[in-house]
């Protein structure tokens, strides 16, 4: 029964994503243990929960992705409007990070309330757009799972390349995970108000959702990491 449930969840999640994933720019083996990654994400109209990138939404430029991104061009047009005439509500994109310490949101765009050049590499962020876009953006220096610290309550976690092919059971590290949810941003789900999808801990993260985000609830301060299962000692002969 549980296998059927996981199968159904994986169908729901993977079918929800038209484009997600990305490409490795630098492997940890040759990059001091860090991934440099370029995420490729399909944003649906409305809210999307995606991995945060360096200086997002600015690093969607041609230099990083090799081609122009319509959303990037709109962001550039918007920020070129002189201060007094630029209305916050007219921004083509809104970006928020969740602070698990204060349990509140930090606005990152159109107004960066955290300070320029702040790169929260392990975090997932809310991104609101007024229409659908395919975007690509740069996420350098993605650290190992052991560097992802979770605080009591909800944590917005970026699904980085380390997650691929693993279940949360495999990478829970020192965490006692209470619940995990994925946000399906498809318009039908938004219309029905059924965007949040609970994920079982033994669900294997597919490559199609690398670059999106999860919310993970834990009871205590902990760190993710590969769980080394130590087999029990051999039984003593009779």
């Amino acid at each position: 029964m549980k296998k059927i449930l996981i199968f159904l969840i994986s169908i729901i999640i993977t079918s929800a994503i038209v484009i997600a994933g990305g490409q490795i720019i630098n492997e940890p083996a040759t990059n001091s243990g860090l991934y440099d990654f370029q995420y490729s994400i399909h944003l649906y109209k409305g809210w999307n929960l995606i991995s945060y990138g360096e200086n997002f939404p600015f690093y969607m430029s041609e230099n990083y992705v090799g081609r122009a991104i319509p959303l990037y061009e709109e962001v550039m047009e918007y920020i070129q409007i002189p201060g007094l005439n630029r209305k916050k509500a007219d921004s083509p994109v809104f970006v928020y990070l969740y602070n698990p310490e204060t349990k509140g949101y930090i606005e990152m765009f159109p107004e960066n309330t955290l300070g320029e050049n702040t790169y929260m590499v392990n975090y997932a962020s809310w991104v609101y757009v007024r229409e659908e876009y395919d975007i690509e953006y740069f996420a350098p220096s993605i650290p190992p799972l052991e560097d992802i610290k979770l605080l009591p309550g909800w944590n917005f976690v970026a699904i980085n390349p380390h997650f691929e092919g693993n279940s949360l059971e495999d990478i829970k590290g020192t965490c006692n995970i209470q619940s995990v949810y994925f946000y399906n941003a498809e318009p039908d789900e938004t219309q029905r108000g059924t965007n949040w999808k609970g994920i079982p801990l033994d669900f294997n993260i597919p490559s199609e959702i690398v670059g999106l985000g999860l919310i993970v609830k834990v009871g205590d301060v902990c760190k993710l990491g590969t769980v080394q299962t130590i087999p029990p000692p051999p039984s003593i002969p009779n």
């Binding site: 809210w47 509500a89 007219d90 809104f94 609101y128 007024r130 619940s179 949810y181 919310i215």
Partner: protein
Amino acid sequence: MMKKILILTLILMLGLFVLSGCSTTTVQDSNTQTDTLNTQTAEPQQNQDAGTNSIPQPPALPEE
């Protein structure tokens, strides 16, 4: 006497005619004013719809 009554009736009728004419004008005026008000009320709404976006708030987290 008869002549006086006739003159009075004529004055009354004239008065009534004038009054009814004025009241018609008043109604027409008020209609015009209403139309103008309606137009005035409608115009900003159209502008508002065409040019103003709202600042979206992130979705609520799941309840447990």
